[in-house]
């Protein structure tokens, strides 16, 4: 597709890391494994590329070595370009730069990158929402409306006991945001912000510079919530399937939701594939005694046991007689023979010896850290 040189995409790889601490202990939110063979950052990156946006900056904070390894030159997302392309923007990248506290000072720290791009418009995105979206209609709507900011939202459900980091919009009859709340004391249907915003570079420059001059760093608090400035925020609805990851439970549910074919097709449409780093694994080998039901299995696995209602990532081995149910088994984990695993999430490279029994419960999956030997 024709590349739109006019738009710069910016991904915040480290926002809301604290929501899934088990998974982000050693990695950024963007590096969190998802869906059998992906990492969360593959969704915003693929959305940008599939929207014809080939200038992309990835802003990271800490623990970004696995992200660097994953992204490399950006080639697998078609972002290894001479014009534009993918740029990783770590902190402390120039003299005087500091660690960031929020999106505004993060942007301030990487401002020269944004300034130097040829883009007229900038799209900001986090890594904690998995969805497939073409940004072009949102940009069109933004330009046509003359808004300062376009906030992309979806009709969702907010549960004050379970959900976090939710930005909820009140929308007026004119389609503009008239109220913004963060994690309000309510439970029910709402207009849930997807943390995706479209702005002109000129407007972004203004708010970043002003905020830096007043030591303000939170985009949510100092821009969205600030009643005094009266920014015109257009609300743009995204109607596609989405899953927001803001807890271990929602991470668990978002992965298992992919067992529903409608959601899977919505998240991985053929016209807008989700790109990721390839591993050159062989196809899955199902043994004579394997028994699989309702599961997603990535390449490179060797399955000799029983698997039901699971998402199995690349290179996993499951031994004879083992039963794995309602679980997420991530890359290169080895499960021995005659094990019983239920409601478990394993991080990478976990080794489970023969005859082990590991059980979590549906609302509280048992999480096993990277490299654990059981």
């Amino acid at each position: 597709m024709a590349t739109n040189q006019n738009i710069l995409g910016l991904v915040f790889a480290s926002i809301h890391d604290e929501a899934v601490l088990d998974l982000t202990k050693n990695r950024t939110m963007g590096s969190v494994p998802f869906g059998g063979r992906y990492r969360l950052i593959d969704f915003p990156l693929s959305n940008f590329v599939n929207s014809g946006i080939s200038q992309v900056g990835v802003i990271t904070k800490r623990n970004y070595s696995s992200l660097l390894d994953h992204i490399g030159s950006g080639r697998e997302w078609d972002l290894a370009r001479k014009k534009g392309g993918l740029h990783l923007l770590p902190p402390y990248s120039h003299t005087g730069a500091t660690m960031y506290n929020g999106r505004l000072d993060a942007l301030g720290n990487v401002w020269s990158f944004v300034e130097n791009s040829s883009a007229d418009y900038v799209i900001l995105s986090n890594c904690d929402v998995t969805t497939s979206i073409d940004f072009r209609p949102a940009v069109q709507a933004h330009i046509a409306s003359g808004a300062d900011i376009t906030a992309i939202y979806a009709k969702g459900y907010y549960d004050q006991l379970k959900d976090r980091h939710a930005t909820i919009f009140g929308i007026g009859g004119d389609g503009f945001v008239n109220d913004v709340t963060i994690d309000p004391p309510m439970t029910g249907n709402c207009n849930l912000g997807l943390d995706m915003f479209v702005m002109s570079k000129a407007f972004l420059r203004r708010i970043v510079k002003e905020s830096m001059s007043r030591s303000r760093y939170s985009f949510r608090r100092d821009i969205l919530l600030d009643r005094n400035t009266k920014y015109r925020i257009l609300a743009y609805e995204h109607t596609g399937y989405f899953a927001k990851i803001d807890s271990l439970e929602s991470y668990f549910n978002a992965n298992l939701a992919l067992l529903d074919s409608a959601k899977r097709i919505a998240l991985f449409p053929k016209a807008r594939p989700v790109y990721t780093k390839t591993k050159d694994n062989a196809p899955v080998r199902f043994g004579l005694e394997s028994h699989i039901r309702n599961s997603l299995i990535a390449d490179g696995c060797v399955i000799d046991g029983k698997v039901e209602n699971c998402v199995i990532f690349r290179g996993v081995k499951i031994g004879k007689g083992s039963v794995v149910r309602d679980s997420i088994i991530t890359q290169d984990t080895v499960i021995g023979a005659r094990c019983s695993i239920r409601n478990v999430i394993t991080d990478k490279n976990v080794q489970i010896a023969d005859e082990r029994q590991l059980t979590g419960s549906a609302g509280y999956p048992l999480f096993i850290s990277k490299g654990a030997e059981i």
């Binding site: 869906g35 059998g36 063979r37 080639r75 067992l259 074919s261 899977r264 991985f268 594939p273 989700v274 790109y275 990721t276 390839t278 050159d280 694994n281 062989a282 196809p283 899955v284 080998r285 199902f286 043994g287 004579l288 394997s290 699989i292 039901r293 309702n294 599961s295 997603l296 299995i297 990535a298 390449d299 490179g300 060797v302 998402v311 199995i312």
Partner: protein, 391 residues
């Protein structure tokens, strides 16, 4: 130098619109992935792929060589079709002529040694070890050989060697084989010597320009140092439909012969960015190899299923190879068959039959559909049938 130009006519419908090295294999690969990956893993960074027949699919697939780490500033993979020059244009007229016509390509890199490979075999091999052996023997030519059962030796090129593995004679398809060392069609040449013999053969104008028939006998007659290098491991010719099916089935045998899961010797291929495969609630999968992007709701037994394949509920696939993008509709039975790329097998169709249904085994063979074929609802494709048009 990878000889990939052949038509692969014994693969019939599968090579109607693509060269043999582009034929899919093993759930995720094309035949050429094996020699290419062997080169990469052996540290060979400069590869010429000689193509001629129906090269479009193969050329697109090879592209700039990136999947095999062969997109290099110096060297890399180069697709070499026949070309027109000042002295005229000609198709490749034999395996030796193909290399002769590309002498200038080889000279660009000024190699000391040239490895010549075919593209029709499935195997994993470290060519650098063969080159080391070639150097140690101070050979002019080293031929890789496989020790085969005596019953098979009469179908192959047989090397007769002395105690030091120096080749003293060689016989093509001998009725009474004097040795069981069969040529694998993998050669290491000292370039200066190969170049000399290629030019002599071309100038001799005998009309025959083949390694096995012309170059090697000529070198043997002149007393050049020709050595045999014994290879141990899985090596399968996939030049016929039966052997292609067989080699795929070998991947499912209990005693693993070809390990595709060895991280130290990966077989690389060009990928399609597909999500993981989904195995449904009514699916029954037993002893199979299945690839990304596939959606399985039916029964799969002892079969190799490529990527992006849909097997609907109620469909049965047994002892078969189903190539990428194919849809097998509910109630269809596919058994002892090869189904090509992007086919549609209609509801309740029946492809192939079990050999047990035939008293006379000569009447049985696998059934094959070519690529992009539709088999209508309820239609039958019998054993030995090779479908090259939709029915």
């Amino acid at each position: 130098m990878l000889l990939a130009g052949g038509q692969g006519s014994r693969l019939y419908a599968l090579t109607q619109d693509m060269a043999k090295p582009a034929v899919p294999f093993g759930g995720k690969y094309r035949l050429i992935d094996f020699p290419l990956s062997n080169c990469t893993n052996s540290g060979i960074d400069t590869v010429g792929v000689l193509t001629q027949y129906q090269p479009l699919v193969l050329n697109d697939y090879i592209g700039n060589g990136e999947p095999w780490d062969l997109d290099r500033m110096n060297g890399g993979v180069h697709v070499l079709p026949p070309y027109e020059s000042k002295s005229g244009a000609s198709w490749y007229e034999g395996t030796a002529n193909a290399i002769y016509q590309n002498i200038s390509f080889i000279e660009r890199y000024d190699p000391e040694y040239v490895v010549v490979l075919g593209g029709d075999h499935i195997y994993k091999m470290d060519y650098s070890k063969m080159v080391d052996y070639h150097k140690a023997q101070k050979a002019d030519l080293t031929i890789a050989v496989l020790d085969v059962p005596r019953s098979e030796a009469s179908r192959m090129g047989i090397m007769i060697c002395d105690d030091e593995m120096r080749v003293t004679e060689f016989e093509e398809k001998p009725k009474v084989p004097r040795s069981t060392l069969a040529s694998m069609g993998i050669y290491v040449f000292t370039w200066a010597k190969l170049k000399k013999y290629l030019i002599e053969n071309e100038n001799a104008n005998t009309g025959s320009k083949d390694f096995g028939k012309d170059i090697i006998p000529a070198m043997l007659n002149n007393g050049e140092r020709i050595y045999a290098y014994t290879f141990e491991g899985y090596w399968k010719d996939v030049g016929t439909l039966d052997s292609l099916w067989d080699a795929n089935m070998d991947l499912l045998a209990p005693a693993e012969q070809l390990n595709l899961y060895d991280k130290k010797w990966r077989i690389y291929s060009r990928h399609n960015n597909l999500p993981p495969q989904y195995i449904g609630t009514e699916a029954e999968v037993e002893n199979a190899m299945i690839t990304e992007g596939s959606v399985i709701h039916g029964k799969v037994d002892f079969s190799v299923i490529f990527g992006n394949v849909t097997i609907e509920e109620g469909a049965v696939v047994r002892y078969s190879v189903v190539m990428p993008g194919t849809v097998i509709k509910s109630g269809a039975i596919v058994e002892y068959a090869i189904v090509g790329e992007e086919c549609v097998i209609g509801k309740n169709a029946h492809i192939g039959r079990s050999p047990e249904e035939y008293d006379n085994r000569d009447e049985w063979s696998i059934a094959v559909t070519g690529h992009r074929i539709t088999v209508g609802d309820g239609k039958d494709v019998l054993p030995k049938q090779i479908l090259s048009e939709s029915i």
